[in-house]
């Protein structure tokens, strides 16, 4: 049972459009009952509201899924209506199947309930007795009783199906969601900018613990001693989306270093929890030190839950983690991963939870700062090499994404709300709301945000940067201790302009151009560089070109750093990239003089001997690097000779340079490259990730050099020397992973070696036997670390060694015609997989690798292709990593074998699987490895599939924003933006041009325009007249997205369901069947251009439409989602009469008035 009290923050109100809005100052939530058996929750909330406007007669709150029993305002029963346009985005079983249409409708629906715009699903009418009071700006208390039954979003129940009490079964429940999703589990103002103080009460079974935000004030037994009530108090103003709850039979661990920090895990995992948490205090110390600021909350709680929505989620003073992050001390690979997750969670406590954001477009500041300080932690803990490697990785990721998908815009501005100004026309979704973003985009958004913070740091220095953060935090903590009435709380919200102002105050520097380039604008820079050395002038002529016309790119103008390593040393040059100058002359410092034997000074002051025989006798240049500090978000393609790359690899000390050199050497398969790579591989001073990369590059080079390769297969002798017994080189030493670099190398080398191919394009026998020997002689008895990852990688190596089977005809694969090598491989895999059942490895890594290997065997035609094995491993009840691996195989099978039944099976899983993460992963893996794409025809692409997917994103995923966006993504991948080509043309189409007032038969439904057709005048709508029932006219396709755009823009002003409006419009024009009360308003329409459509008229249409609908849906009895478009109301108070009519007529309000209270 959950009860919560939200004290709304008034400061947010001022920024709102002046609507009848309330400011809530305090929030009390009380959950009285949590039933694990039935997966239900009963509770009430009480909001204290300080009205900031006169005549507050309506209060809008966010609420989804909750069944609301009664609402009282200051102890008076208040009527309410509930309308959620996001439940079903496009109404009516129309034939409309185009993604443009959906996206704009979806954006409009989300806007219609956007708390930042003063909207909400739940509209409460303030009893008229209180209006007077409202005039006097008195405090109002809104009391709402609600329940949740089998919630599909917001709260997740994990109830294992075993015997015993709920506590013995480790049943637990926790809150989750993508961005602001608190509305799924209690009615609130679900906005990051609405702060209030909280009082939370949870009554749970005596064997359970309820963990929530704030301080646990006391725990009290109920009368019968069978339950306990946990009382929490959160005096720091906090936004509702930062409130969370976890209830379960948790084991409790008080942090031995910080007693105000408490950790919770599921039963039996305590030893792992101790191990995992043993270094959390170091992260705390680090952040507090660099921010020179105490951790803002008085306590911190970490909870590890099963079936987590995301690995890490941060809420005010607590974080919820996936239980799969826990590890024992024997596990090497998971340890750094988990530490990173903890560090991320803690960074978000400062920026994200304590400091919240003013609006969605300020999100980048929070993500940027938390990501940036997390990076500083990485640098301190894992070293500079790891940090630079990570920055490069992140940079490569964002560059790749933007070049492929189009730009990522950190700070979108929506001026006037016209769709024309859509800042990201290249995307198939809107970035106006966090809930319309694709998950992938959001990840990239976070990545770009922290990279941009790093750019700012480069510009103003880290010291100033940290001062800015400190300033933000100290202002916020001063504000947090003030009363609401002091109007200080807005200091706890960060905005882009406030952040920039702080930067300019603290540093005195103008970072305007930088912000304009990377924050207000999307895209990355793509450089192409080449050079020539002019011997006469002793000048390096560098040419840097840019591609700023392809998608996702932008033009860069400004300084760029170039580092030139010459014989006499390393020199930095700062060049100005200007509009038209491509060529840059850089004077060289040294003459070529390779004969003098002198040490070469490097950038870091080191002096080294080099064998200079490889270099060009006339040139003193060893290597050149463009933008070595990664101070531009860019991709550089630079041309230099192979020996220069080799020098760079061997002698440049920066890991980023080494990695760039390795990637560049892939196209230079020469003995010199081979030697350079081998040398790096052997260098134990070299960063291990560079050495790992060198392994794979060496394999590639070896394959290209196949005909001239001498000696044993690449890396074999190296591996033997490093890891095998001296006396018998064919036997690997018994495992000892005490040196982690060696461990990672030992793991990787076989995987890379297995990529080698001989002249017949087969993996050399010698390599295969070598790997089989490694498996055979693997002996971990003396090792203090687990070898599960190592064994898993050996299986991956076997997988890599597979090549397509030579099949004479397409006969079915049988045991008898199995290739002998494959037989050996299969035997190993079988044994591993079977052993795993008896002695499961950590995170079942071995099963995961075996499943991948089996899929590879199938794919290459060695064994019959069959998804049934994978389907059994994909069932609910296997470890999540195993399920994902199995699903990946099924998805691959679906694509290769074009199996519609498997696709169907997958889509069923998306709808029914209990684990949200699995559903999400299925859709995103399907989008990554699609069974077909819009480009190619496929038998799978049929009308039923289109309908199914449409339904999925239209209404089937309404409980999970992330999943809905995943579905949109998949739909986009499969069908593109326009009407899927597999759909038949509507039998009879009519194009109606409202502006020109004429209708024509629709010639080509297919010629739909992309989203960027704003120049088209007028409003064109296609209608079809099928023989349909009652509603007679079914709107079929909206031909021109603009029609919707206008509509939706209008709609943004008020909550409404877009297509209802549209529908009514047509009903009126063509049939006149609309109830007469509307006609007046409607008739003015045809002559009126759309944009001038006044609010009043549309909203009154709504009111009427409800009656209309109500009529025939009445019989069907209300399934919850049927209510959605019925209970509309307008804001205009002139229509008071009709208003109340609507209220009393709606089923929801009917129940509300005197429905028996179920709680207490």
């Amino acid at each position: 049972m959950l009860s919560y009290k939200q004290n709304p923050d008034p400061s947010g109100l001022h920024s709102r459009r002046c609507m009848n809005r309330k400011k809530d100052k305090g929030f009390e939530i009380c959950i009285n009952n949590i039933n694990f058996q039935r997966k239900s929750v009963i509770g009430y909330v009480e909001l204290t509201i300080f009205p900031t406007v006169m005549n507050l007669n309506r209060i809008k709150l966010n609420s989804k899924q909750c069944r609301i029993y009664r609402v009282r305002v200051n102890d008076l029963e208040a009527p309410f209506i509930y309308n959620d346009p996001t439940l079903e985005v496009c109404h009516h079983e129309s034939k409309q199947r185009n993604l443009n249409y959906f996206s704009s409708a979806y954006t409009a629906a989300v806007s219609a309930v956007d708390p930042d715009a003063g909207n909400g699903e739940l509209s409460i009418k303030v009893p008229s007795e209180l209006w007077k009071q409202g005039d006097e700006m008195k405090v109002m208390k809104v009391y709402i009783e609600f329940s949740l039954d089998q919630p599909k979003g917001g709260l997740h129940f994990v109830v294992p199906d075993v015997d015993g009490s709920m506590a013995e079964r480790a049943a637990h429940v926790f809150s989750f969601g993508n961005q602001n999703s608190t509305r799924f589990w209690f009615p609130c103002v679900d906005s990051y900018s609405e702060l209030c103080t909280w009082k939370l009460e949870f009554t749970v079974d005596a064997s359970m613990v309820a963990v929530s935000c704030g301080d646990l004030v006391e725990t009290v037994y109920t009368h019968d001693m069978r339950k306990k009530t946990f009382h929490y108090m959160l005096p720091i103003p906090t936004a509702a989306p930062n409130i969370s709850l976890a209830v379960g039979p948790f084991e409790i661990l008080v942090d031995p270093y910080m007693h105000e920090v408490t950790h919770f895990c599921l039963p039996q995992l305590l030893p792992l929890l101790k191990q995992t948490m043993s270094y959390l205090h170091e992260i705390f110390e680090f952040y507090e030190e660099i921010l020179t600021c105490r951790y803002p909350y008085s306590c911190f709680k970490t909870v590890f839950v099963d079936e987590a929505y995301v690995q890490v989620s941060s809420y005010a003073s607590m974080s919820i983690f996936s239980t799969n992050l826990l590890h024992s001390g024997m596990i090497i690979d998971q340890t750094p991963v988990t530490r990173r997750c903890l560090a991320q969670a803690l960074a978000q406590q400062f920026f994200g939870c304590f400091i919240s954001r003013m609006s969605w477009s300020d999100e980048w500041v929070l993500k940027g700062i938390s990501g940036y300080i997390y990076g500083l932690y990485l640098k301190k803990t894992f070293g500079v090499n790891e940090y630079r490697h990570w920055i490069k990785e992140e940079l490569d990721k964002i560059v790749e994404y933007e070049l492929k998908m189009g730009g990522v815009l950190l700070h979108p501005t929506f001026s006037g709300g016209k769709e024309k100004d859509n800042p990201t026309p290249h995307l198939h979704f809107s970035i106006r709301h966090p809930h319309t973003l694709s998950w992938e985009y959001y990840k990239m958004f976070q990545c770009k945000a922290h990279l941009v913070m790093r750019l700012i740091e480069n510009r103003i220095s880290m010291e100033f940067m940290l001062q800015v953060f400190n300033k933000l935090l100290s202002l916020a903590s001063t504000a947090s201790s003030q009363k609401y009435q002091s109007h200080m709380w807005s200091q706890m919200l960060v905005s882009t302009s406030g952040f920039l102002k702080s930067i300019s105050n603290v540093s005195g520097k103008d970072i305007g151009p930088l912000i304009k380039q990377w924050v207000d604008q999307s895209g990355v820079v793509k450089f192409f560089g080449s050079f020539a050395f002019n011997r006469k002038r002793n000048v390096l002529e560098l040419e840097i070109r840019q591609d700023y016309t392809s998608s996702g790119t932008q033009k860069y103008v400004g300084p760029i750093k170039v580092t030139v390593q010459e014989l006499d040393g390393s020199f930095n040059h700062t060049l100005q990239i200007e509009e038209n100058s491509l060529k840059h002359d850089i004077p060289c410092h040294s003459k070529s003089r390779r004969n003098k034997k002198k040490k070469i000074p490097l950038m870091n002051g080191e002096e080294v001997d080099m064998d200079l025989s490889a270099m060009d006798a006339d040139s003193p240049l060893l290597w050149i690097r463009i933008d070595p500090d990664m101070s531009i978000l860019r991709k550089v393609e630079f041309e230099q000779a192979d020996f220069m790359w080799q020098y760079q690899l061997r002698f440049e000390r920066d890991v980023v340079a080494q990695e760039e050199a390795i990637s560049a050497l892939e196209i230079f398969p020469t003995p010199a490259s081979r030697l350079a790579l081998t040398d790096i591989l052997e260098q134990d001073q070299c960063f291990y990730k560079v050495r790992i990369q060198a392994c794979f590059c060496l394999a590639k080079i070896a394959n290209s050099m196949m005909s001239t390769w001498t000696g044993p297969p690449a890396m074999k002798s190296l591996f033997t020397r490093m890891f095998c017994c001296k006396s018998c080189p064919n036997i690997v030493k018994t495992n000892n992973f005490i040196n982690f670099q060696s461990y990672f190398l030992q793991k990787t080398m076989p995987v890379a070696m297995a990529l080698l191919r001989d002249v017949q394009n087969l993996c050399p026998k010698e390599v295969l036997n070598f790997i089989l020997d490694l498996i055979k002689y693997n002996d971990n008895r003396k090792n203090k670390f687990s070898d599960n990852y190592y064994r898993a990688e050996l299986i991956d190596a076997l997988t890599n060694s597979l090549t397509p089977a030579i099949s004479i005809n397409n006969e079915v694969r049988t045991v008898d015609n199995l290739n002998t090598d494959v037989r050996l491989i299969l035997e190993e895999i079988t044994r591993f997989l079977n052993m795993e059942k008896l002695l499961p490895s950590y995170r079942n890594t071995i099963t995961v690798s075996c499943l991948r290997a089996i899929r590879m065997l199938q794919k290459n035609g060695h064994i019959p292709s069959d998804p049934s094995l994978f389907k059994s491993y994909a069932q609910y009840g296997h470890f999540v990593d195993v399920r994902i691996a199995a699903l990946e195989a099924v998805i691959d099978y679906t694509r290769v074998d074009r199996s519609s039944s498997e696709l169907q099976w997958l889509l069923d899983l998306v709808q029914n699987d209990p684990v949200h993460y699995i559903r999400h992963e299925i859709l995103s893996m399907l989008a990554k490895n699609p069974p077909f794409t819009k480009a190619a025809d496929s038998l799978l692409c049929n009308e039923a599939l289109v309908d199914q997917l449409w339904k999925l994103m239209n209404s089937g995923t309404c409980h999970d924003w992330r999943l809905r966006c995943d579905a949109v993504n998949l739909y986009y991948t499969l069908f593109g933006l326009t009407r899927p080509s597999c759909l038949p043309l509507p039998e009879l189409g009519l194009v109606l041009n409202l502006k020109e007032k004429k209708a024509v038969l629709n010639p080509t439904i297919k010629s739909e325009q992309g989203p960027g057709g704003p120049e088209r005048p007028g409003l064109t709508v296609v209608l079809a007249f099928p023989t349909q029932e009652e509603e007679d006219i079914d709107m079929d396709t909206v031909h021109d997205s603009q029609a919707f755009i206008y509509h939706h823009l209008n709609m943004l002003e008020r909550p409404s369901t877009p297509d209802i409006t549209l529908f009514q419009l047509f009903a009126l024009i063509f049939t006149g069947k609309e109830p007469s009360s509307v006609e007046q308003a409607m008739l003015s329409m045809p002559g009126t251009p759309m944009p001038t459509l006044s609010k009043e008229s549309t909203s009154s249409k709504h009111g009427d439409h409800h009656h209309h609908h109500h009529h025939h849906e009445h019989k069907k009895k209300k399934k919850k989602h049927k209510h959605k478009h019925k209970h509309k109301h307008k804001h205009e108070s002139k229509d008071k009469d009709r208003d109340s009519h609507a209220f009393s007529n709606s089923p929801a309000s009917g129940r509300s008035i005197r429905s028996p209270s179920l709680s207490d």
Binding site: P160, A167, A206, S207, D215, L216, V217, E218, T219, V220, Y221, T222, M233, P235, E251, I252, V254, P256, H259, E260, T262, L269, K274, S278, Y279, N324, S328, T335, T381, F382, G383, D684, Q685, S727, C728, K733, N736, I738, N739, F740, K776, D779, R781, N783, K784, V812, T814, T830, R831, N834, M835, K837, L838, Y842, L857, I863, D866, S872, Y876, F879
Partner: protein, 328 residues
């Protein structure tokens, strides 16, 4: 020693009796029987001397027992006395002191010994010294070095204390051992998994031959994360073993893998060693509670020092929902 004293003082003729002692099995038994018989003869003759004509068997035995005890005690004390003076062989004076200690008037002894009516008992025949089977002598026994008196026992055979060199190649040995260990493990695993596969449900990769490459069927479990996250007992066991021998392990590492450079440490490595240390210290300090949140009474004191709200006792319900007024 004591025995020999007895023998010396009471030499008598028991030859007639000794023949019947063949029944006893061991030489020790034999010896003891013979001694006892000798004592009986002595007792009988003393009795005769005193004028007894006959005695009951029980009386005889008692007297014999007393005599034996007395002589034994004399012997024991004499030895103790002699050892007290750091010698190994009792001398006459030791015996005299002993007798004095035992309250015996030594001066009367010469007179008693020379009494006229004493009976002379012939010495028992010297039994053939039992043949001690000669131990196998392997190699040359070492002679005593000069500083060891010759009376000390001889060195044992050399094979009992000298390392015997063998002539097997340890190198090939290693290979064979590894080979053996590997194939043994593989055989065990294969047999085990085959057995499991035969006795339970299986899945197969081939439609035509279900028995080839049988895979144990995947069974969903209600709480899958437990087995996936917790180390198996086998691993824990291994860990314990390695922990105890960790010291050896480390040196081993340094010896046989010279390519591991210890000075080149990544941060991860640092962390891991921290982790293990932390772990130990954490173990000591960690406060663990059962989920119920009830403080075990035994530990209560210790834990009360940590003020964590989750460790506090759960309050009893008092009255109706009192207004919570504990605000900061």
């Amino acid at each position: 020693m004591a025995d020999s004293v007895v023998m010396g003082s009471g030499s008598l003729n028991s030859g007639s009796r000794s023949g019947s002692s063949k029944t006893s099995t061991s030489p020790t038994d034999n010896y003891q029987l013979a001694r006892r018989r000798t004592l009986q003869v002595v007792v009988s003759s003393l009795l005769t001397e005193c004028g007894f004509e006959s005695a009951e068997k029980a009386a005889m035995e008692t007297l014999t027992e007393m005599m034996q005890s007395y002589i034994t005690e004399v012997g024991r004390c004499a030895k103790a006395t002699c050892e007290h003076t750091a010698r190994s062989t009792p001398t006459l004076s030791d015996v005299v002191i002993t007798l004095v200690e035992m309250g015996f008037n030594v001066d009367t002894l010469p007179v008693y010994a020379k009494r006229s009516q004493r009976m002379v008992i012939t010495a028992p025949p010297i039994t053939n010294a039992s043949v001690v089977p000669k131990a196998l002598i392997a190699g040359q026994k070492r002679t005593h070095p000069t500083y060891i008196p010759s009376h000390f026992p001889e060195f044992p055979d050399p094979h009992t204390y000298i390392k015997t060199p063998t002539f097997r190649e340890p190198v090939s040995d290693y290979q064979v051992v590894r080979e053996k260990a590997a194939s043994q493990r593989r055989d065990v695993e294969r047999a085990l998994t085959r057995f499991m596969a035969k006795t339970g449900e299986t899945e197969s990769l081939f439609k035509d031959d279900i028995s080839a490459f049988p895979l144990i069927a995947a069974k969903p479990s209600a709480i899958p994360y437990l087995s996936a996250l917790l180390p198996s007992e086998l691993e824990l066991q291994t860990l314990e073993e390695t922990d105890s021998s960790e010291q050896d392990d480390q040196t081993d590492t340094e010896n046989n893998s010279s390519n591991v450079s210890q000075d080149d440490q990544t941060d991860t490595e640092n962390n891991s060693s921290n982790v293990s240390q932390d772990d130990q210290s954490a173990d000591k300090e960690n406060v663990v509670l059962p989920p119920g949140g009830v403080v075990p009474t035994g530990k209560a004191n210790e834990e009360n020092m940590i003020d964590n709200p989750y460790l506090r006792l759960v309050k009893k319900h008092k009255g109706r929902r009192k207004k919570l007024k504990f605000i900061y």
